[in-house]
Symmetry: C2
Subunit: 231 residues, 2 copies
DNA sequence: GCACCCAGAATATGATCAAATTATGCGAAG
DNA sequence: CTTCGCATAATTTGATCATATTCTGGGTGC
């Protein structure tokens, strides 16, 4: 598919029109990582991406630099860049940080909630459940992320939200591996409780539910990855 | 070979020997921002940096991308990049996030403290006090940052520490402006209390002291910048 | 097993094109 | 006659690419 074709087909994704090449490459690569299209440990080469994404070398370089700065990719010392492989300590850290940040975002989001926000979250959650029933891993990851992102937007706290987004990038590839291994059925969430809390105007309940949601999800990652390494 | 060479070269200029150009440019630009050498709102041009830092265009470009990804610089919509200007909401967010993260790092750092760590912190704090007495703003900023960084290293939590470092970059320029306005005398800290808590093995006290330290410092920024805008 | 060499990939440069901001000049209104 | 507004030109800056250079890793011969 040519570049022009890609720009024309961008009716869905808003404002693909006049975006610098490096921005487009960044977003595409970011999406690949976030949705686990890249395997942890996989090498990310500049020339490989110029071929795969039909982009020039300079834009690809810049996209890689941005993503390494965000922790979505790691510099391997010797000019090599790879998708990060999480160890037990990394996961423990991620649990701690995500728990804190996500709870705070939930608190703010619930406090500032507008009419219709609960419905919007419920719609996303319904799509999520549908993906789970289908066993659609890709759909599960996408909708789950959309659910949390919707809460971030409600919180109207851009710095906090950007930190949370950055954390998603760090475990996105590993999450995909875990979901592929245990299936979508065995990853419970607390979204229903959060929505109920939101409707009841119970800010603390929303925060509690999202904190548990995060911890539970991350624990699954730790358990599965830990088991994979042991035997 | 790399280990010996690194040890040899790292006597003074911390491994400037075999570092990619873009890495060197990144660190220099990062230091400029962190120490407030750049004024909030100032435009950061790629060609201006190639001239100032005597570097090529590509390395400068990559350094700018990395720093924008970290929030140290901001995209101004039309392809312009500037040093961020903090508004009241940004500062409130930063207070909240820093308070949380810094407290957690202090807790971990205190829990894992080795013999000599307290002395090391005390030495940095002494240098900090000396800078305050001299009215040396640059020295104050450097030593204050070193104090916190030393605590981060003790915590042995790289992800958490990288988030904290990223936050420093966001308010570095504004902090410099504030210090230049109110002087170094009027920015109290809780370092002595943290050191005392560390010696006593009181983890909670260290966390409390650092949390107050952060909040107090950020409140000064908010107050001064708020006053500057009002009249 | 060790040293050397080569292929391939990353780094870095400068040129070229496009976009945006600033400077400029013309005309009309006061 | 001066001044303001607007359109256009000029300059500055960013984006991209093609290319030269340097470095890493692996294979080969001894």
């Amino acid at each position: 598919m040519s570049v022009k074709a890609a720009q024309k087909e961008s009716s869905e994704t808003t404002e693909f029109a006049r975006m610098p090449e490096h921005e487009a490459v960044y977003r595409r690569l970011r999406a690949l990582i976030l949705h686990g299209e890249l395997v942890p440990g996989q090498a990310v080469t500049i020339q490989g991406l110029t071929a795969d994404l039909q982009a020039g070398m300079t834009p690809v370089r810049e996209a890689i630099r941005r993503l390494t700065a965000e922790g979505a990719l790691v510099f391997q010392g010797n000019r090599r860049v790879t998708v990060p492989v999480l160890d037990a300590e990394n996961i423990d850290e991620l649990i701690l940080v995500r728990k804190t940040i996500e709870a705070e975002l939930a608190r703010r989001g619930a406090a500032r909630a507008k009419a219709g926000d609960a419905d919007r979250l419920e719609a996303i959650d319904a799509a999520l459940d549908a993906a789970i029933q289908r066993g659609d891993v890709r759909g599960y990851l996408t909708e789950n992320h959309r659910f949390h992102t919707a809460l971030y937007e409600m919180a109207a706290a851009p710095i906090l939200a950007s930190l949370a987004e950055g954390l998603w990038l760090r475990f996105g590839p590993s999450l995909r591996v875990v979901c592929g291994r245990v299936g979508t059925q065995n990853v419970p969430d607390r979204h229903k409780e959060a929505i109920a809390g939101l409707r009841a105007g119970d800010v603390a309940e929303v925060a509690r539910a999202m904190e548990e949601d995060v911890v539970q999800g991350m624990e699954v990652i730790r358990t599965v990855l830990g088991e994979a390494k042991a035997p």
